[in-house]
Subunit: 373 residues, 2 copies
Amino acid sequence: MSTVSETDRLARVVLSCGVEPGDHRTSSLVRQLGAAKALEEQLVPKPGSRLADRLRDVEPERQLEQAARCGIRFVVPGDPEWPAGLDDLDHGVVVQGLGGTPPGLWVKGPMPLTGLATSVAVVGSRAASVYGAETTRGLVDHLAVSGVPVVSGGALGIDFVAHDAALLAGGATVAVLACGVDRVYPAANRRLLRHLAAEFAVVSEQPPGSAPTRQRFLARNRLIAALTRGTVLVEAALRSGALNTVGWAEHLCRPVMCVPGPVTSYTSQGVHLCLRRGGASVVTHGSHVLEVIGAAGEHLVEEPRGPERPHDQLSGVERQVLEWVPVSTPAGVDSIARLSSLHVRDAVGALGRLQGRGLVREVDGGWRLAGAG
Amino acid sequence: MSTVSETDRLARVVLSCGVEPGDHRTSSLVRQLGAAKALEEQLVPKPGSRLADRLRDVEPERQLEQAARCGIRFVVPGDPEWPAGLDDLDHGVVVQGLGGTPPGLWVKGPMPLTGLATSVAVVGSRAASVYGAETTRGLVDHLAVSGVPVVSGGALGIDFVAHDAALLAGGATVAVLACGVDRVYPAANRRLLRHLAAEFAVVSEQPPGSAPTRQRFLARNRLIAALTRGTVLVEAALRSGALNTVGWAEHLCRPVMCVPGPVTSYTSQGVHLCLRRGGASVVTHGSHVLEVIGAAGEHLVEEPRGPERPHDQLSGVERQVLEWVPVSTPAGVDSIARLSSLHVRDAVGALGRLQGRGLVREVDGGWRLAGAG
C-alpha cells in the first residue's frame, strides 16, 4: 500500500511534466518543503523565467489517465515500488549542472521496480566491436543466470547486447530511457523496447511523449547509476556517454567495474582511461561482478590457478630434485644431489620417477629437463 | 675508485661460486659480519651439509682471472658500479625460500650498471601473442627514445621483443640471466645475447659456466625487480614466471604496471589477475610508464580527450540550444527556446548557425539533430 497522498502525487506529476530532468534546484525544494509546497513555490511567476506558466499548463489528472490508458504508471517516493537507490541522488551531487532525485518515474511494464534492488548496470559504446559484444554476452549471461537483473539504456551497441543477452539467458532486464517510455528511440531497437515494456519494464523520468535530447541523456545516466548496485563498463571510446554514467556511479559511491580490452582498440580507450583514473576494479567474468556487488563474503571468486601441470602431483623429494635439474646442459647425479641437499641414492630414485613422468631426460650420462629448448 | 678490499672481493667470489643464489641466510650473515667473516663462518663444517667443502673447493683468484679473460667482471657492493637498488633485497623479503642481496654480480659488456638507475623492467610470457609482441614494441620504443634503459630476462617471447625493440630504437638494454653470462640460453637467442654482451651488458649472480635451473630462474627474477625503477607486465598466462617477477617488484615496493589485453586471451589472464589483486596500475602507452617511474611532477601525461568534435567550437548560446534540440522527432523553435531559457530570436539565430555547421536539420517546420538515427 502506498502512503502517498493524492496531492503529493499530483504535484509530482506537474513537476515531472513541467521541469526538465536533473533540475537539482527543484528537487532540493521538494526535499525541503515536500512536493506540494515546492510546486506552490514554483508556481509564483519569476522575472525571466516561464517555468510558472509551464507548470500551470500541466493537467496532472489527465496526464495520469492518459498514461494509464497506455499501461504506464507513475511511481513516486512512498510507493512500495519506489527504488530506494534513487534517494542517494538527493545528497547534493551535481554533475554538469544536473542532479537530484526525480519527482517520480514513469514506468511501462509488469516488473516491479523493487526487482532492481540487486541489479547491475551494463553500459558501453554504441559503436561496439565484436569483442565488446561477445564479452558483454558472456558477462551478462552469468549475471542473468545468477538472478541479477541487468539495467541499461536501450541504445544501440553494448546496451542492446546487454538487454538481449539477459533475455536470451532467461533473466530480467530493464531499460532506462531519455525519452518518454511510450516512444521508441532508437528506432532500430523497436522490437527490443516493445518486448521489455511488455515483459519487464521500461523506465523514464520524462513524461510520456517527451523527445530525447542531449541534456536528457545526461540526466538519464544518473538514474542508471542510482538504480543499480554497480556499473559495468564494457567498451567505451574516449568520449563515450557511458563514461558519464560511470562518473555518476563514482559520485554515488557505487562500484565501477571495467572490462579491459586490447590497448590497440579505439573502443577500449575509455575503459582504460577509467582504470587509470583509479577507483574502478577490473572484471573479466560475470563472477567477478557478483563478487563486487555481493554482500561481504558472498560470491567470493577463487583466484584462477591455470591448468594443472604434471609436476603438481610430485612428491616433495621429486620436486626438490626437479628444481635443480639443468634446463639444457646435462648435470651428473652427484651435482644434482648436492644442490638439492639429498643423498645420491634418493636423488637417483627421484630422477628415475621423474623420467617415468617424462619430466627429465638422461643425456650423455647426465640429466636435463625434458622438452626444454 | 672502488673502496672494496681484496679480501672482501675474494670472499664474495667464493660465496658467489659456492652458495646457491637467493640463499638469504648467507646474505644475512654477510650483512651482519661482512663477507670475509661470513665466509669464515660458513667454512666451519656442519653436520649434514657439504657447503663448507664446496666453498673450500673454490679458487677465487683463478675464477676472477678466467672470467676476466672472457671479458667478465665481478661487481660487488662498494664498487662505483654497484646498483644501489639491489640493497633493497637486504630488507628481509623472502619469497618461496629465496631472498637476499647477491654477494656480487658477474657482468659481461661495456655498459656500466650505474646506467640501470633509471631503468624499467619489461617482462611477460615466453609464449607471447602477436598482440603482446606489438604492444611491447610500441611501449619499449617510447622508453628507449626517452633514454630509459630496458631490463629483461633474455628469454623467448616478450623478453626477446623487449630487448629487440630497445635496440631497434637505439636505446640501452640489459639481460639478467639465470645461468652464467658466458652461456647462451635459450639457444635461439644466441645472436641477441651475444650482441647485448658486446654492446651493453649481460648480468648474472651465477658464476660463469653455471647452468640454468628452476630455482635459479626464480632467484634471478628478484634481481630484475630490484635493479629497476618499476616492472611492466605485458602478457602473462596464469602461471607465467613473469608473475613471480611482479611479485618481487611488489615486495620491494617498486611500481608494477600492467598492460591489459582482451579478456578472451589466454596470455592476458595473468595480467588481469595481477590487476584484480590490486596495487598495480594500468599502462597502455610508454608515456604512462614514464609518468609512473618519473620523479613527482615529471613526465605527467595529459588525459586523452578523444578527437575534436564540431561542437567543441560552438559559442555558449549555440551549445545551449544544441543541448535541447531533439534527437529524432523535430521540435518547434518556441519549445527549444523555452527549454534553453533563451529568447526565440536568439534561438533562431543559433539554430541557423548550427544548421550551417551541419549539426541540426530543419524538418517539417521544426528542428532535430542532423545525422542521428
